[in-house]
């Protein structure tokens, strides 16, 4: 069993008591809700006559079903409108803050909470969304929960949880030009598999990780769940503290030093004990693209699609299913594969630095999105949109043939009007290439970094960002 890791410390600090089942009653420091997984939880509270004792520890926004073009109410989709009304009523009745469309702070829940300074080191964070793992970038223990558990947090500010083992994922060295945080996490998942993390919390450590900005760290932790780990985290350091300072919900300047001291105290000790340690060399990581139907089916952009013999025997049927679904064969290059749609956004890659990277590729390339490709950029939040527009990024995107949209989850999971059609292939900065994920039951998704998606849109096919002049890491 692990000892003196950040996970152990934060878990112990938030442990309220041991339940009769042996599980831990765990206090949740920050609870976030959105319109998709919360309405049934509030309905259950009403059925049982329960109230919300700590409404100030829950914050709500709307993201999954929000249209990114026409946002006038009522929404054209009556079901989406019903969900909006539900969260508006539920939050107002229970005195929970809602960052609704147009208030300047709405956006993808995992982008909004960090930018408001709500996410802080040493917290336990829960949300009815698997990508809650994102918040681990701050040294929080953050995990996705189901709707019955959303009910439990609303009713008690706690969850019944079993502990996790801790695997340290050590990444050292400098990344090569054109290689981003997205490539790092896709590479890790490729090596460890989509179920390699089941039962584990992932601690991302090493010089490569600690040289990353907070936004890059969020991209890495965001996809811990795609590797099967319920949460991923990074020990807080000066980069973390600098990011938080001055944000709306950050500790005041007067109390900031006290906060930093506590945040430092919850980091893993240098002699911490881990259940497992895996090491990676940053130099081995290339711009990475998925070719199949799970995020582990990923290759360097200049590699060919692997053979079934490259995978465990038990996965043979799955790999064949992937070839069939994607209409791709072993030995075929991924580079040069034509795309129909390019999507830049999501909780994985919808932050300002992601948009800057994509805009930079547009400038370096100089051309416009090819006619056969529909390309669109969805900022992760209203704040990201405002910042991007202040920098003129929207003009770069428009000039180069990308559409510029309003904030939301959009085509990451296609619950709003943004959807693939038929067998379309999308180059996407999102996190899941599952069958049917992007709104067409036969649609195909290639996951890659924002720079690689932008380049694929401009060339009309999967391209190697390293071949573009002037590309830096």
């Amino acid at each position: 069993m692990s000892e003196r890791t950040l996970f152990d410390k934060v878990w112990n600090l938030h442990s309220v008591r041991t339940l009769p089942s042996g599980q831990t009653q765990l206090f949740i420091g920050l609870h976030m809700i959105h319109e998709v997984t919360s309405p049934q939880a509030f309905a259950m509270l009403r059925e049982r006559g329960l109230t919300v004792p700590y409404p100030e520890r829950t914050v709500a926004t709307v993201d999954h079903i929000v249209p990114t073009e026409d946002q006038s109410r009522p929404y054209a989709d009556g079901l989406a409108e019903e969900m909006m009304v539900a969260i508006e009523n539920n939050t107002s009745e229970n005195k929970i803050t809602l960052h609704n469309v147009g208030n300047g702070k709405q956006g993808v829940v995992h982008i909004v909470a960090p930018e408001l300074g709500l996410t802080q080191p040493g917290m336990t964070v829960a949300c009815g969304d698997s990508h809650t793992a994102t918040h681990g970038a701050f040294g929080a223990i953050a995990f996705g929960i189901g709707t019955s558990q959303v009910r439990d947090v609303l009713a008690t500010q706690t969850l019944a949880m079993s502990g996790l083992k801790v695997r340290k994922i050590q990444v050292d060295g400098e990344l090569n030009p054109g290689v981003t945080a997205k490539d790092v996490i896709l590479h890790i998942i490729r090596v460890l598999g989509v179920k390699g993390g089941v039962g584990f919390a992932y601690e991302f450590n090493g010089s490569t990780i600690h040289n990353m900005s907070m936004e890059e760290r969020m991209t890495v932790c965001n996809m811990a769940i795609e590797g099967g780990a319920r949460c991923g985290y990074i020990n807080p350091d000066q980069t973390t503290f600098d990011y938080i300072k001055g944000r709306e919900h950050a500790p005041s300047d007067a109390n900031f030093d006290k906060a930093v001291a506590w945040w430092q105290s919850i980091a893993s000790d240098s002699d911490a004990i881990y259940d497992d340690v895996v090491e990676f060399n940053a130099a081995d990581i290339a711009p990475t693209v998925t070719w199949g139907i799970t995020p582990a089916m990923a290759i360097a952009v200049d590699e060919n699609i692997p053979a079934t013999s490259d995978f465990p025997a038990d996965d043979e049927a799955l790999i064949k299913e992937a070839y069939d679904y994607m209409s791709l064969d072993a030995g075929q290059p991924i580079k040069g594969l034509g795309i129909d749609v390019a999507f830049i956004g999501s909780c994985t890659n919808g932050r300002i630095s992601d948009l800057r990277a994509a805009a930079e590729v547009c400038k370096q390339h100089g051309g416009t999105v090819v006619d056969s490709v529909k390309a669109f950029v969805v900022p992760g939040s209203e704040q990201v949109k405002k910042e991007a527009e202040a920098e003129g990024l929207h003009e770069v995107f428009l000039k180069h043939g990308f559409e510029w949209r309003e904030a939301g989850c959009s085509m990451c999971l296609a619950m709003n009007p943004d959807k693939l059609q038929g067998r379309q292939i999308s180059a996407s900065t999102s996190n899941r290439n599952f069958k049917g994920r992007q709104g067409s039951s036969t649609g195909r998704t290639l996951l890659m970094s924002p720079a690689m998606v932008a380049l694929a849109a401009l060339n009309g096919s999967v391209s190697d960002v390293r071949e573009l002049e002037g590309v830096s890491a």
Binding site: P20, I65, M123, I145, V194, D314
Partner: protein, 201 residues
């Protein structure tokens, strides 16, 4: 309001495949709802349709499995999205117990909250059980939470379930809300201990 779940017996339905994610169990378009009602008919909807289009049939559409209440799956079942709509859809289709090689954690936790036990057996055992069900859909499968066993015909498999969830099913306290509410005073004390709650003042 909870009921003990000690042992569940019934006919079974095999759904083969590793890494079947919750988008496949219930596609996102069916999450546009404010209740879980009606999700059962949409379980595996896109997989079912695609097999139909290819002239094949998904087990959830096969007449011979319509009365099944035990679902038998393979590795990493329920990975991906945290949507409780997935176990809700499976449950509303008629499933009351799941046997598989492994389960994604959030999906597993969601099933606890619904009182649906998920027991684990080996790769070879899951494959053999699925084949046995396919050969004889009337086969009765017993999912014994108390004795950590899966039984069918003359076969007795030792199955895994963590002690915590097992206790919750056996005691009937798989719905955690009541127990969590019982700890309200300790929660208050915990809040007072955590420095970030007051902004480190």
């Amino acid at each position: 309001m909870s009921n003990a779940v000690k042992s569940i017996s019934g006919t079974a339905v095999p759904v083969r495949g590793n890494d079947i994610d919750t988008d496949r169990i219930i596609p996102a378009r069916f999450l546009r709802c404010v209740t879980f009602d009606g999700l059962g008919e949409h379980a595996f909807e896109d997989d079912r349709q695609q097999l139909k289009d290819a002239g094949d049939i998904h087990p959830f559409d096969e007449e011979r499995f319509q009365a099944a209440n035990v679902l038998v799956v393979n590795s990493n079942f329920g990975c991906g999205s945290s949507r409780e709509h997935a176990p809700q859809a499976i449950s509303k289709w008629g499933i009351t117990a799941i046997v598989g090689v492994s389960f994604a954690e959030i999906f597993y936790g969601n099933n606890i909250a619904l009182g649906i036990p998920c027991l684990q057996i080996s790769v070879a055992e899951a494959d053999a059980l699925q084949s046995a069900i396919e050969a004889d859909p009337s086969l009765v499968v017993t999912v014994d939470v108390e004795n950590k066993q899966v039984r069918y015909g003359d076969t007795v498999l030792n199955a895994a379930i963590d002690d915590g969830p097992q206790k919750m099913y056996l005691s009937g306290n798989w719905d955690a809300t009541g127990q969590l509410i019982d700890g309200a005073e300790e929660v208050k004390a915990k809040v007072a201990e955590l420095p970030y709650v007051n902004g480190f003042a």
